[in-house]
Amino acid sequence: MSTEHGSGGERSEGVETTLAVSDLTVSFGRRPPSVRGVSLRIGRGERLGLIGESGSGKSVTALAVMGLLPEYAQTWGSVQLAEQELLGMNDRRLSRLRGSAMSMVFQEPMTALDPTMRVGRQVAEVFALHAVRNGTGATRHRVLNALVEVGLGEGERIANAYPHELSGGQRQRVVLAMALANAPDLVICDEPTTALDVTVQAQVLDLLDAQLTTRGSSCLFISHDLAVVARLCSSVAVMLDGEIVEQGPLGQILHDAEHPYTRGLVAAARIDRVQRGERLPTVADFWERGR
């Protein structure tokens, strides 16, 4: 499949659809909707980068897909995972899909693990919760395996540790191990590397890349960092103020963006193109809110 050329529409024809979001609108109370008419489609094994600034509705979109929005949130539209409608599904059935058919990696590894529980037990929980999908096997063995797979070689020591005894990178690997444990059809990553330093960020991205490929999982990758998205995803959707303003294959977005906001993002990400002594470009050079 070509990622550099071709338009978004024909790209994934013929590939089985993992996630189809259409016309999703989310609002909280009487405030104007945080997400308006968002449509996304991710084929089997595909990765879509969802990019946008803080408050643009990326995380709300992700939580809406997972069905984890607070009760007072109202949603309209449709979210289908493998042709199964998720919006309006009761929580018990949704719970069975979460962690098995779809999973999520959160931004902050420092707080995403329960401080009172040993890491190994937390990973074991994910296996225990979805025993049906997994078949059988010694949980302990599988926990250690899962930890080794995400590059935590000393699985035994890590499994017996409490979260505060691990570094940020190690914790994010544990979180990844939990998200990937049941080989989900869809992994939603909400800024999974933002809290990590650049070196660890690169390692975790490579790891995520490899593990997604091994499992054949699709991925919705949320970030505000175009460079990170470019490293992992084949197509990109740009979100601004609750709406998707541009969507297409990575190459098209990088080289031939239509929306001025996207062009601003690309320019701001390509500091290698800036001449010495020149001012660094900002998004505001291309696009300003309310203009």
């Binding site: 899909l97 329960d114 401080p115």
Partner: protein, 271 residues
Amino acid sequence: MRRANLLVGAALVGLVLVIAAVSLVWTPHDPIRVDPAHVLVPPLQGGFLLGTDGFGIDVLSRLMVSARFCVLVGIIAVGIAALVGVPLGMVAGQRGGWVSELIMRATDVWYAFPALLLAILLAAAVGASTVTAMVAIGVATVPAFARVARAGTVQVMAQDYVLAARAAGTPPIRVAARHVLPNIAPTIGVQASVSFGIAILAEAALSYLGLSTRPPTPTWGRMLRDAQTYLFSNPELAVWPGLAIAVAVLGCNLLGDGLRDLLDPRLKEVR
């Protein structure tokens, strides 16, 4: 320095517990049998360390046996309160919305109802006994636990690890058992320690009024009541049980304070 609270509190509570335990196997004299030959012996005479009371019973022995009952009433009362209050508070905190409103407003009304009145009502209805006192104190303490549990639960539910657990498909009951309860346990412990002190005080008040354990079983409250008769001739008889109650309650409060300081991360830097 902040640890002083914890250490002194633990020592005092430990002392009460040890005395209560020792009284099970050994007391210097019989704590119940009336002995007309040794009425109102002053302290340190005739082999009675703290003297004897108006019935001729050794005061020290009575104090020791009383400790047993105050500990027992305290533990059961706090146990009842925690077993009812904590789940109520957790449900309120986890469900939110109208469920939470209903539980917490009911708790407010419950809180406003005086414990003493409840004990008198219960005693009038089913008769005064140790069980009456335990139930009355326990029921009256439920709201304190419900509030603390709800506050803790709301806080824990807002944490990323709860969202992550839900994203992994953990059903609400399992979230409560695996994630919420262990994380609010320290706060519940502090509340239990403070409530234990209040329960001891309440038990003393109830048995002073004759609404708790029946005679001849000694309790600190009853010892105070008995001492009232001799307040002008033998004032020390009132001092001993008063001192015992003060030590036990002070110990519980210091222990609670110390635990809270130990567990409060905001106070860690101050230390």
